[in-house]
Symmetry: C2
Subunit: 214 residues, 2 copies
DNA sequence: TTATAAATCCCTGTTTTCGGGGATGCTTAT
DNA sequence: ATAAGCATCCCCGAAAACAGGGATTTATAA
């Protein structure tokens, strides 16, 4: 029996490419293609009688993006599988998708064979992630756990950012309308908290966290 | 008269997508599609009689990549236009391509309209780069020029690295078997030379240059 | 409601950084 | 050969950072 697919991507070219490789396989039936997630939600909502096996979706789309669409599908229709394809492999996106139970993730520059492999795997009831994606996800989890205990407060983030921007204690105090003693306390606490030795360590931390750009 | 195109990309899906949007326009004639640059070189070398207007190529391909292919084409056949498409927009790649006289550059996630626009522009004899790509290129040039004069000596690199690794002047002096005054001089010179204000600035510079990891 | 965490401020003393100087050899190009 | 650049060392004084305490008020969570 044929499997029913929906594809969502606002890039005509990618869509055409995907359709062309799916056409070579005879056992897929493309129910619907959409330019953004909202259309897919509407389609699924209306066609309740239809068996939908898999939604293939891009991440970046206007209005309702792939992440939101995946969340919505997984919340409302747990028997619809989802495969997300994306240009980029940002740990944040991957994490959010996996946490919301996506069935597979592929980079857009994957080869034809991998696409078909992923679709087959997912329709068979398993998850599909390339080794690279799994590594990114785990690496991210690992780092988060390592740094979990260390939570900086809003003020601390403000202060460490300004430190990394090369301002002195007095300047930061003036900027934030605080006493220089206060900033000194923050610096001291940050050095202890982050287990570093001096401004260089604080600066590196700020860069790693993206509070400032190097 | 129809324009003759060659397309090189090792991703079947992208190729199919591109072909499908080119098919909607009747005035393009696809002479040849290839999985890597070497095939294109061979094709061009053999078919000397044929008028080839434009080669559209991916950057990352096995064996001969898009950058090498573009260089080769521009060196041997100055009347063949080139359009490079890529997943990413790394300043390095963009710079290298523009310096070797590519006629256009597009990200793979561009919309159909932009693809056709780019091809038309290039066939009309002009260059095509999106505003974003131009910005990246110029930004890169600007930064390179800004940093060109600033050349750190071996010793300076050693010292700034250790500073960014959170060692104090005295510790660095001990490590390098130098007087603490020497290290102080280096620190002072570095701050002046690099036009920063303090250790935070030095640390950021060291990270940007890859002397230490954040 | 009662801890706990966050934000703010203060003191003392030591060490380091920072911003000026300048000096001496030793290479390396011009 | 002479200038320029590099590596090394030194001094001084002011400013800032570092290390170690502690205190108060206001949210917030247990």
């Amino acid at each position: 029996m044929k499997h029913n697919l929906i594809i969502a991507d606002d890039h005509k070219m990618f869509l055409d490419g995907l359709l062309s490789i799916l056409k070579t396989e005879s056992n897929y039936n493309i129910l619907y293609t959409a330019k953004h997630g909202g259309h897919v939600k509407k389609y699924i909502t209306i066609n309740t009688e239809e068996k939908i096996d898999l939604v293939i979706t891009d991440v970046t789309m206007p209005e309702v993006d792939g992440i939101a669409l995946n969340k919505w599908i997984k919340k409302t229709n747990r028997n619809i599988k989802t495969l997300v394809v994306s240009m980029h492999n940002s740990p944040k996106i991957i994490d959010e998708l996996i946490e919301s139970n996506v069935d597979g993730y592929l980079q857009k520059n994957a080869q034809k064979e991998e696409f078909l492999q992923a679709i087959e795997t997912i329709l068979g009831g398993e998850k599909y992630f390339s080794k690279e994606i799994k590594d990114i996800y785990l690496q991210n989890k690992f780092e988060k756990n390592k740094e979990k205990e260390i939570k900086l407060t809003k003020r601390e983030v403000e202060v460490i950012s300004l430190i990394a921007e090369e301002f002195t204690t007095q300047e930061i105090a003036d900027k934030l309308f605080l006493s220089k003693h206060t900033i000194e306390s923050y610096r001291k606490n940050l050095i202890t908290k982050l287990n570093v030795r001096n401004l260089a360590g604080l600066t590196k931390y700020a860069i790693k966290k993206g509070y400032v750009s190097s």
